[in-house]
Amino acid sequence: QGLVPPNELKQLSAAGSKYIDAEVENAINGVKQMKTLMDKTSKEHQAMLHTLEETKKKKEEAVKLALEKEKQLAEKQEVCNETMLSLWEECKPCLKHTCMRVYSKMCHSGSGLVGRQLEEFLNRSSPFSIWVNGERIDDLLDREQRQERRFEDLEERFGLMEDGVEDIFQDSTQLYGPTFPFFRTPPFGGFREAFVPPVQRVHLVPRRRLSR
């Protein structure tokens, strides 16, 4: 049976809405907390970018110097050419045998291709590669590429996170104004003023982010 007369239903609705308004206000504060956390993270991200850039610069300078010295060494190596070349001719088959033994033991397929590639590589290479630990330079350049990819990947994900939080925040700010007029007055007005410029508050047009 109906317990409440229709005119009382309005009062019940108002009482329930009051509770909901308080929860909405609390949630808006929570979203603001998300935004604050993201802003702080973005600042740290900027500082990190700066440190990364500096480190990268120093690394590139050192690699450049190493490449220069390697070049100079290569020009000088002719004096030792004869000794090195004869040793290299004997080193190559052993290197190929050792590498192929390891590869066949560990890897299921591709021995034929790897063998051919290795043979070509060794014929192209000079003993100088071994003498100057050439693979260390190769390694550095290789790692540089991997780091670049890793950096780009992280940056893309960071951007998505920033945009995601911004979207949630912007969507939440649409609740201000006509819908929640009480947000204009303290205590809620206080936090809104912190991030909504006065001009925007008049129009309350949500700022849509530009897609990255």
Partner: protein
């Protein structure tokens, strides 16, 4: 695949960084040590499948990796020992400078990796925290396009007394309330019979239940 995230940021910030973290961890655990002592490592039983796979891929991709095995061949070792400085003293100095530059470059490369890892770890923590906050409060962002009615976001449409409990006729019958919250479908909720509809707690219970329901349906 990152694009779906644009449409559904609610799907989770943590999910953006977790796979990346696992991938890097896997790469660092498996990849590095393997080349450092290739033959020593390969001979032991402790070799694992992922390390093997990384090394196989590395050899297939770049034959230069095989140069690391030079210590296994006597003649190759002798090349390293060739001393050209007797015929050209400048050469040993050059080689030293080259080695110094290499060491420096390697140090900065490691530093760069460490910085990336530290940033990645921080993002993992932040994204987890953001997800937590989003689960708690993110539902409010779905309300942006709603307009509030004159009586607010919650409308009570009916309040009925349920059929009394036959097993305990002395107990007051529960109350069934139908409400509409925001733009959701009408929702039927039950309030214990001992709380009268004119008790302030009554609407508190109704609103709380309705909101819980809404959050469950609007937060992933």
């Amino acid at each position: 695949e990152l694009h779906p995230f644009f449409q559904h940021p609610m799907h989770g910030f943590h999910r953006l960084f977790q796979p990346l973290f696992e991938m890097t961890q896997h790469m660092l655990d498996g990849g590095h040590g393997a080349w450092e002592h290739p033959l020593g490592g390969f001979a032991t039983e402790s070799r694992n499948f992922s390390t093997d796979r990384m090394v196989c891929r590395e050899i297939r991709r770049n034959s230069a990796g095989c140069l690391r095995m030079r210590d296994e061949c006597e003649k190759c070792r002798e090349i390293l020992a060739v001393d050209c400085s007797q015929t050209d003293p400048v050469q040993s100095q050059l080689r030293e400078q080259f080695e110094d530059a290499l060491r420096l470059a390697e140090r900065f490369t490691r530093r760069y990796d460490d910085l990336l890892s530290a940033f990645q770890a921080e993002m993992l923590n932040t994204s987890s925290l953001l997800d937590q906050l989003n689960r708690q409060f993110g539902w409010v962002s779905r309300l942006g396009n709603l307009t509030q009615g004159n009586d607010g976001f919650l409308q009570v449409t009916t309040v009925f007394s349920k059929t009394p409990n036959l097993e305990d006729p002395s107990a007051p019958a529960d109350t069934q309330v139908t409400v509409q919250l925001f733009d959701s479908e009408p929702l039927s909720l039950t309030v214990p019979g001992d709380i009268s509809w004119d008790d302030p707690r009554f609407m508190e219970i109704v609103a709380e239940q309705a909101l819980q329901h809404y959050k469950q349906n609007n937060t992933i």
